[in-house]
Every structure is written in structure tokens, then in C-alpha cells.
Subunit: 382 residues, 2 copies
């Protein structure tokens, strides 16, 4: 049976260009970039080339880009690193639809004496800007709001959020793991930005944090003082080269974003023909180009996913990270006035540029059948 | 000019077996192992196979192995994770010759109210066991002592250290990044063990922490609850597969350790014929199989390394992580009664199994010439 992979929000397949860059780096630039001999210097140059590409992509300076092991580490570093560094300000604002790594970093700080305000979102998943403005206090250290939501795809208006934060003197961080290379993003939109490679066909195990010059963070990983002392640990030149190659590949294929959006909208329109179905998240340019998230009344998303899996279709019920948990999605709960039915009935498909209309048509047929079948046996008759 | 790479203590070249395992995983097991569809389950199985190999190598259970981004993260997690989890015990013991990531994690805790005892070492770099025994107090949370020292190669007697720690009820952690697969190491020798891949021909960006069952750590990376919640972040299946392959390769080539030791001893014996030279560290089986560290009176190690680099020879003056620092090596200072001359005059060569006698002979000639040349122009006449 052929696999139809529609779980690119969980992770993507590495692209050939990234694999080639890694192979080259493993061969030519394997030395430790902290070493002072010629091989170390060459490795360091290769690493800094990758850092510069990433910086340029965001309109930042290379010194403002710190490599990490991925999105989770970048988000932890932004939130805890800033908190450790500024112990006098103990109020943090996040939205109710953050990724678990932001939520749980905040909750950990909450246990340690911090006050966290979790902002509401509207039916489409947009943060309430008036509530944000009112929530920022003199002791507010940080506002952390996800750019493209990993479950429902809603893209926040970062410019407006950043404007409010600047006006009220709070530092603004955004988790852009899902949106990076899929939606407009730049260093003009936030003080700190989390990105990673494996959500956009780069290698796993590498991410970065953009940190505006002047913002000081306490490192989470102390050590040899790599990367200005902000993140110690032998730098992964090959992964950085792979990350860079995946970015260049994405930039070459900007047309594919439009194609993905079209395929996404075709998927959504077709799937919503299934009775009692609801789109979760925003539409058009305010939605991640590759995200489809729909709730089907009277069925469990997990059961739908299991039936689709039997047809070779890979999708998810929300965040992959939380997919083994039985709790309803906190994101769908936040946009649906805490509807357990909608949260349990949601299913997410996340496209890559290589998905075809044929795959989508096959999936749509299987989806309609699965929902029909499950509704027949559901105790909640519709 | 051909490169002679003798800086394998800084990092190694990835071996073909590890590259092949990564390639296969990128192709077949690219899905997120936290996903519940068939591709995710396959990826998860591949990941757990790698974890099991690593566990078996140490005589541990797979649940006791937590993957991290490398040695620095593992050491930070062991020290800070244990400290955050046990706030009532605020005394930590480490040796004076720890890697910077252990030293600086301890120093960070010191700034936050912890008391750190840094144990002396003798002339060969062995920790003073009597001093250790006397230093452990009822409020001692942790003893962290490096197994194979990264600069001078001295291998501590972990069994004896662990015995003392157990008797006096302190948790014992060891950083075994340099010794893993090069010296006997098992879960019977410590409560927590740091290992990583890139020091033994595996990929960069992956390490692990062995954590004895029953020891609780507060995560440094909060998030989706991966790896029993101890270390969140999408798991890097390909890198884990590469790590596993490198371990299997090392196990196949145990004879090479003996060859490395022989080449090491030949190097040391020959280099010590240069007048006014001193071996730093222990000898025989108490020394890392691939480590040579010698001080030449009246010369700067950095100048020697620079002259050798001009001949294509890659070596270092100590830890790669600290190689851009002008401070004298804290390790050589600790074994030499704080001799600045010996610390500044030290140079480290670290072999891999693929180095040849021909390369070593070339290096020895270049080394003798470099020392001679530098002594001629040195203000400290010998």
C-alpha cells in the first residue's frame, strides 16, 4: 500500500538539497568550528555562511541568530532565558493556543512564582488585541504568541501585536516553526523568533532563535561559551548547512506556496461537503498554506485517523507532540467555547509541496467513508 | 597539502556506517515518532531500536536512556535537572578538571545559592578519593566527575568513586563523552552517565544521558512530553540511528583500541625525547587510548599548533571549546600546581583509528622542528 503523507505539520521529509549539503559538510567541514586549525576555520566559515543565509532570510544580522537543537529548545531558551536574566519582572503573557513547549515553559515558571496571563482567542483563533493591550503591565517581561498555529493554522497579525508590545514596553517573542518559509516573516515583526528546520524539509535536530541585538538571555546550556555564550555545545555544521539548503530550496519554490494554498482550499471546500463538519481556524492568507483542520460532529478524530491510516493516509488529530495524550486539544477548546465534541472530533491534514490532487481526491473519498462509517456506529446519532 | 587530522578529541569524522544509517532513516523513517499513524509507528520503532542498543552497551534499560542534543546538554540536564528537582540539597561536588559545561553549570548554580566543592587532582589528574569522601555532606546532592578527561586523557576509577558516593548517599554523575567506546564503561559505574556521538564517529547534534531508574530530573526543555517528559522536542530518529551505527562500528573494531594505544604510546615516547618536555596526564590503561598531551617548556602551545597547522597537521592546545580563549588551561593548572608555563606550553593530539604510523612520524618530525624553532626565538631561554 502506498503511503499518502499528510502530516507535514508534525515533520517533513528532508529534501535532496539538504541531504546533499549535509553530505558535503560531513566530508569537507567535519572539524569542530571552535578549533583554531585550518580544518576548524573552514568548518567555522561554512557554519557562518549558513547563519548568514538564515539571518538574511529574516532581515537580521548573523550575530542575532543562535542555533539550537530545534523549536522546543528555542522556545524554552526565549522564555526561560529571558526570565532567568530579568528576575525583577515576573509577569508573562501568552495565548491559550500556544504549542506545548511554550505553555509548559510558562507553567513551569508559574510554579516558580511567575504570573502568566493566557490570552483568549476568537472563533478563528486570533488573539484578542484589546485584551493583549490591557494585559501588559509594568512588570510584564514577555509576550509570547505563536505565529502560525500548529493545529488550526491561524496566522496571527504579528505587526499589530508587536506594535502593541513596543508601545507598552514588553518584549515580544513568536514561535514561527510552522510558518517559517510558508508565510511572510521578518525580524521587523518580533524581538525574538523561533524557527526550525524539520518542519520545512530540513534536517531534524536543528533550529534557531532570532534574538534582537540588545536582548540578554541567560543560557540554558552552559559550557564552552559557543555562540556568544548564549548556547554552548559543539556546533552542528552539517545540520546548519542542511537547514540553509532547505531554506534556499523553499525560496526557489515560492510558487509552490500558492499551489499548496489552492490544494488546501480545494481540500477544505470538498471536505466541508460532509454533513455536520466545521473548519477549525482562519481562511485565505490568514491560514498556514498547508493546514487543514476540520471537526466532524459525532465522531472521534482519532478513529477517523485510524481508519485513514488503514488506507495508507498519514494525518493527525492535532499536534504530533500531544498525539499520544487523551486530553482534548487545548487549541480547539479555545476557539470553540470549550466544545469537547469539536475538540475530540477534529482531524488535521498538513500538506507538503509534493502532495498531488490525486492523493487529495483519494483522501477525500476515504475521509467521507470513514466519517459515514463511524457515525453509523456512534452513540451520538446525527 | 594533505591534512593530518589529530584533533579527534574535538570532534571526529562521521563513519560510513553512521552515514548509511542516517540515509536509510531519512528515507524510511522520516515521520515524527510521536505520530500515531503507521509511518510514525515505524519511526518510533527505529528510534527505540537505537535506544535499546545504547542501553545494552551500558547494561542499562532503554527507559534509562534519554536522547539529548549532545554532551553539553546532557551534562546541563544532569546537574541542573537534578538541582531543580531537589531544591532542599544545595551542595554539589565536582573535580577541578571538569569540562567547561560541568564547571559552568556548577558556577551558575553557585550564583543561585548553591555551594560547590571543586576537588583537587594529583599530578596525573586523579581525583583525591579521601578528599571526596570527606567532602560529601548530608546536604550533598550530586558528585559530578569526568571519566576520561578531555584535555589530558586521565581516566578516573569510576568504581571507587561510585562506591564512596553510594556509601555516603550522594548521586554520582560522570561525563563520559571522551571515553565512551574507548574505555570500559557501564551503568554499574555511576547513577548518571553523559555520552555523545560526535566524539566517536557518530553524527553531531545527538547525545544521551543515562539516568538510573528512580532518579527524577526536572526537564530543561519543557514541551510535548517526549521521552517521559524529561526531554521534550521532536526526536531525531536519523541521528539516533547514526549514533547506534557508530557504536556498533566501534564494538566491531575493539582491536583498534589496542592499536590506538600503541600508536599513542609510540607518539608519547618519541615526543618526550624533545628536551624539557612533560607528559600531562596518566599512562597506560588509565589514559584515553587516543590522547597525547605534552607541555614544552619555554614555548606557547598555540604557537606550536600554528606551526604544525602550516604543515597540514590539526591538533589543539586543550579543549576545542575553550580554544579561542587566552586563559591558561584549568586542567593543566590543576595538575601542575598552577604552573602557567606548563599550561600555556601544552599541546594535545587526539588520534582516531584511521591515523597511521606514517602520519605520526611526519607529525613527530614537524613537532620537534616547531619546538626548536620557537625556543630559538623565545624570551625564556632554555
Amino acid at each position: 500500500m502506498k503511503t499518502i503523507y499528510l502530516d507535514n505539520g508534525a515533520t517533513t521529509k528532508i529534501c535532496p538539497a539538504a541531504e546533499a549539503a549535509i553530505k558535503e559538510a560531513n566530508e569537507k567541514f567535519f572539524a569542530n568550528p571552535a578549533s583554531i586549525h585550518h580544518a576548524g576555520i573552514e568548518a567555522s566559515k561554512r557554519l557562518e555562511r549558513a547563519r548568514k543565509t538564515i539571518a538574511n532570510t529574516l532581515g537580521a544580522s548573523p550575530e542575532e541568530i543562535i542555533f539550537t537543537s530545534g523549536g522546543t529548545e528555542s522556545n524554552n531558551l526565549a522564555i526561560k532565558g529571558l526570565s532567568f536574566q530579568n528576575p525583577s519582572k515576573k509577569h508573562i503573557i501568552a495565548s491559550k493556543i500556544e504549542h506545548d513547549c511554550v505553555l509548559n515553559s510558562c507553567k513551569w515558571l508559574e510554579e516558580r512564582g511567575y504570573e502568566i496571563t493566557f490570552l483568549d482567542v476568537d472563533k478563528e483563533g486570533f488573539v484578542n488585541l484589546q485584551q493583549l493591550q490591557n494585559a501588559i503591565r509594568p512588570d510584564t517581561l514577555l509576550v509570547s504568541i505563536i505565529h502560525g498555529n500548529n493545529e488550526i493554522g491561524t496566522l496571527q497579525n504579528l505587526q499589530k501585536i508587536y506594535e502593541i508590545c513596543k508601545k507598552k514596553k514588553a518584549i515580544f517573542h513568536t514561535d514561527a516553526c510552522q510558518s517559517f518559509t510558508k508565510a511572510p516573516l521578518s525580524a521587523k515583526m518580533a524581538d525574538m523568533i523561533t524557527i526550525n528546520a524539520h518542519k520545512m524539509h530540513g534536517p531534524k535536530g536543528i533550529g534557531a532563535l532570532y534574538i534582537r541585538k540588545g536582548i540578554q538571555l541567560t543560557p540554558l546550556a552552559h559550557g564552552g561559551g559557543h555562540q556568544q555564550g548564549i548556547r554552548s555545545g559543539t556546533q552542528n555544521v552539517a545540520a546548519a548547512a542542511g537547514f540553509e539548503a532547505a531554506i534556499k530550496e523553499a525560496q526557489k519554490q515560492k510558487k509552490q506556496i500558492k499551489n499548496m494554498q489552492n490544494l488546501r482550499d480545494y481540500f477544505i471546500k470538498s471536505a466541508l461537503k460532509i454533513p455536520n463538519s466545521t473548519l477549525n481556524g482562519a481562511e485565505g492568507n490568514s491560514r498556514l498554506a498547508n493546514n487543514i483542520n476540520i471537526s466532524f460532529a459525532g465522531v472521534e478524530g482519532e478513529s477517523v485517523a485510524a481508519l485513514l491510516d488503514m488506507e495508507g493516509i498519514c494525518c493527525s488529530t492535532g499536534s504530533a507532540c500531544a498525539s499520544k495524550s487523551l486530553d482534548p486539544s487545548h487549541v480547539i477548546m479555545a476557539i470553540s467555547n470549550n466544545s469537547h465534541e469539536r475538540a475530540h472530533g477534529s482531524i488535521r491534514f498538513t500538506l507538503s509541496a509534493s502532495n498531488t490532487k490525486k492523493e487529495i481526491d483519494f483522501t477525500l473519498r476515504a475521509l467521507a467513508q470513514a466519517v459515514k462509517k463511524l457515525r453509523k456506529i456512534s452513540p451520538l446519532k446525527r
